[in-house]
Structure formats: structure tokens, C-alpha cells
């Protein structure tokens, strides 16, 4: 799959703390070279939710650490979010074409076909391979592994990976438990072929699943098991459901174990991690996992207060926000860890590259609630 313009040159600066090939050999690797996040302009505050649900701003903040989330407008779909984030990520990377596009999502535009080909078409990625990855909130890490695999296998030289979810489409607005947690958004990265010793090289993946926990995080109807026939499917089965206590326990256990597996594979010690960027499930899970790993709270990157749980978008949104705030600097060692429905979990490591500031930065965590939206969405990096 040829590209219109040549790939960026690999960064040849030595970076001994980055993920390494066994024995210190330089091997072909996927390297992060573009990053962006985008959330729809409409902000839904805790106070707004409190007007129609039996809850309060204090209750939501205490139990989840979430202060607001963003919802799409009627008619907006996951591909619309993905296009916004994808376009900005391509600008960040300074390229117009990729060989492949991967969209990680739990809320595709349609059951069939995948969302990625439409996103590729709308981004002008003519002829690029395009497919979806479905791993719920672990989708971005699974997508990273898939995208990196395309590169290391020599199938692609550049890949655009977008994590995008429209949870407002599947969460029952009257479900007090879940409606306070989830938001809509998209985050995207561009990966290019490089080598394992350079900053931005992504590696040491740990991925896993346990289908015995299928029902802990579920939308029961709409698939081949329970088809969506009007009048036969209950309201509960049409919507997202989660068994909170069991999920909380699994999330902490699995994320901690997966993070340790990646660190062990790379021979990194926990205190060598500069930034832990977990799936932004809720603040309490982030704190509990960081505590379990022995990481001080300040090394845990979080923007869940501003955007809620955005599913597959959460890690790239948090990364884009942290990069925009210059919390993450070139050379910093970064640990990504996620957990989601399936059950699924995954982790990987990278040392932070120098990303060209080609797009305006607007961090999500410092955006006042009353801030005017810019160009259809206030949060790009």
C-alpha cells in the first residue's frame, strides 16, 4: 500500500530507556508521531444531570471524580467524532496519507459495515486499509497492538489509530448508575515505521481477556444472540449495563497485573515510570490501581474530571490533554493500561517522542465550563 508522501525519518537519537528489543538489538517498531483529541462541544455538567436524575454534583464527584462530560448533538455519530480527531492527528504528524486506519470503538455507526472505511473516506485516505477493533474500553490498547503489528510485519508504514465512542447512544439517560459516568469523544494517534530504540517506539504489549465475565459489561440486545426486534426487546437490554462492584474488582486486579507484566517484559521498575496513563474509567479506579502499583498519585495522568469515561477514546484524550498541558515531555517514560468489557485488558510502554506542535493546543482539564467552543469542538492537541 504505497503512500503519497515519504514517511518521516526515524529519530536516531539514542534512548536507552525506551522499549528495547531482546538483547538490545534495534528492530523495526511502530513509533508515535502524531496525536490529537476531540470532544463534542456540548458539555453536560453534574448539575444538569441532577435536574433529571436522583443525584447531585457532590455525590458524583465523590464517587467517580467526574465533574462534567461531553455529549454529541442529535444526528452526530461516532464517525463524526473520529473524523475530527483523525484529521487533527494527521495534522499533528504532518502527513496527509496513511496505509491503514484502525478505529477502536464500542459504538460503531452501524452494526454493518465497520466505521473505519467511512472515516478513511471522509479523511481522504484513499485506498487505505480500514477496519474496526472492538475491545470496549481496552479498544485503544488493542488498536495500538494491531496498528503496531501492521507496521512491524511490514504490511504498513504509517497507520492512523482512532479511539472513538458515543456512549450517549447506548447508555440509558435515566440510568443513574451509568449516565453519570460516560461521555462522548475521540482521540487519535499516528504511528510510523521506525526502530525500537528511538523515542516514541511502542512496545512490550501485554494483552488479555476472560470471556467468563461477558455479562459484567454488556449491551444484551442488538447482536446475533438477542436481535433487536421492536416490541420484543426490553429497554434494559437495549442499553449498556455494568455490574459495578464486580467490574471495580476486576478492573483494579487486571490493570495492575497487566501493567506489571509490561514493566517486567521491558525490565522497567515501577519507579522508572514517569507517567501512568490508565483508561479513564473513574478517578477511584485510577487511584486504586496507581496505589496498587506503588505509583505516587501525581504520576497518574487523569482528565476524567473534565470528560468522564469516554471508552476507547479515553487514553488518547488523556495523552493529548497531558501533552497540551506539557505534563508529558519528550523522553518521559509512559505506561498505558486499560481494562474493559469482554472482559479485556492490556498494557504497553513507550518513551515520549518530540511531537511537532502543528495544531493549537487546548487541554481538556483547564477548560472552564462556560468556555466558548472553537470550530465545533474545543479540545484539540
Amino acid at each position: 500500500m504505497p503512500s503519497a508522501d515519504p514517511p518521516p525519518e526515524p529519530d536516531d537519537r539514542p534512548h536507552p530507556s525506551g522499549p528495547r528489543a531482546a538483547g538490545g538489538r534495534r528492530e523495526r517498531a511502530a513509533v508515535l508521531c502524531g496525536l490529537a483529541g476531540w470532544v463534542p462541544p456540548r458539555i453536560v455538567t453534574n448539575d444538569e444531570l441532577s435536574q433529571r436524575l436522583d443525584t447531585s454534583d457532590e455525590w458524583i464527584r465523590t464517587r467517580t471524580g467526574i465533574g462534567q462530560r461531553h455529549f454529541v448533538e442529535p444526528g452526530q455519530a461516532t464517525s463524526d467524532l473520529a473524523v475530527e480527531a483523525g484529521r487533527r492527528a494527521l495534522e499533528s504528524a504532518g502527513i496527509a496519507q496513511v496505509d491503514a486506519l484502525v478505529v477502536a470503538t464500542t459504538t460503531p455507526d452501524r452494526s454493518c459495515p465497520a466505521t473505519a472505511p467511512l472515516v478513511a473516506h471522509r479523511l481522504g485516505l484513499t485506498g487505505a486499509a480500514a477496519f474496526d477493533v472492538s475491545a470496549v474500553c481496552t479498544g485503544f490498547v488493542y488498536g495500538l497492538a494491531s496498528a503496531a503489528g501492521l507496521i512491524t510485519a511490514g504490511v504498513a508504514t504509517r497507520v492512523l489509530l482512532i479511539g472513538a465512542d458515543t456512549y450517549s447512544a447506548i447508555v440509558d439517560p435515566d440510568d443513574r448508575t451509568n449516565a453519570i459516568i460516560f461521555g462522548d469523544g475521540a482521540g487519535a494517534v499516528v504511528l510510523r515505521a521506525g526502530h525500537s530504540e528511538e523515542p516514541g517506539a511502542i512496545g512490550h504489549f501485554d494483552l488479555g481477556s476472560d470471556g467468563a465475565g461477558e455479562e459484567l459489561i454488556i449491551v444484551a440486545a442488538g447482536g446475533s444472540r438477542q436481535r433487536s426486534t421492536p416490541g420484543e426487546v426490553s429497554r434494559a437490554d437495549r442499553h449498556f449495563a455494568m455490574q459495578g462492584k464486580a467490574v471495580y474488582r476486576h478492573a483494579i486486579t487486571r490493570m495492575s497485573a497487566s501493567a506489571r507484566a509490561s514493566l517486567t517484559a521491558a525490565d522497567w521498575k515501577v519507579d522508572e515510570v514517569d507517567h501512568f496513563v490508565p483508561h479513564q474509567a473513574n478517578q477511584r479506579i485510577l487511584r486504586a490501581v496507581a496505589d496498587d502499583l506503588g505509583l505516587p498519585p501525581e504520576r497518574c495522568v487523569s482528565n476524567v474530571e473534565s470528560v468522564g469515561n469516554t471508552g476507547a477514546a479515553s487514553i488518547p484524550l488523556a495523552l493529548a490533554d497531558a501533552a497540551a498541558r506539557k505534563v508529558i515531555e519528550p523522553g518521559d517514560r509512559v505506561l498505558l493500561t486499560a481494562f474493559g468489557g469482554g472482559l479485556t485488558w492490556g498494557s504497553c510502554l513507550l518513551s515520549w517522542p518530540t511531537l511537532a506542535p502543528r495544531t493549537p493546543s487546548a487541554p481538556t482539564t483547564v477548560t472552564p465550563v462556560s468556555a466558548p467552543a472553537e470550530e465545533g469542538g474545543p479540545h484539540a492537541s
Binding site: 464517587r63 459495578g244 462492584k245 471495580y248 483494579i252 486486579t253 486504586a288
Partner: protein, 78 residues
């Protein structure tokens, strides 16, 4: 109370802020405003630090701290 009770109080106070005077063997988690996710964390810490497995539905809001310590001691003895 037992050493187990003291260990339980130590991990409870690490996970949940409560006035020290309110923490007695007879007080329940609900009375201390301990929510369901904190109960899960208590259960996970008990399992990790004391080697006793407690199901999520066993550690319920109406259970007292003293009854929890008794439950753990019974598991340790069995």
C-alpha cells in the same frame, strides 16, 4: 477486640475518612457512609493482606465492623 479488628480498622481508615470517635465495633459501614466501591476495596485488601476471601455480597453496608472482624477470624480458623 481482636488483632484482626485492629487490622481492619487500619485499612478502613486508609481507604475512607471517618471521625475516629465514630469507629466502634458496633457501627455499620452504612452508618460510616462507606459506599459499595470502598467495600470492594476493603474486601480486596483483606484478601491480599490477611489471606481471607470475602464475597462482595458478604461485605454489605449493614454489616458492623465487629461482625466483619468475626467473619474474617472464622475464615482464618477454618
Amino acid at each position: 477486640m481482636s488483632a484482626t479488628y485492629d487490622q481492619l480498622i487500619a485499612l478502613l481508615t486508609k481507604l475512607h475518612e471517618a471521625p475516629p470517635g465514630d469507629i466502634t465495633p458496633d457501627v455499620t459501614y452504612a452508618e460510616l457512609d462507606v459506599d459499595s466501591l470502598t467495600l470492594v476495596e476493603i474486601s480486596m485488601h483483606v484478601e491480599r493482606e490477611l489471606g481471607v476471601s470475602i464475597e462482595d455480597n458478604e461485605l454489605h453496608p449493614d454489616l458492623s465492623l465487629g461482625a466483619t472482624a468475626k467473619l474474617i477470624d472464622e475464615r482464618l480458623a477454618s
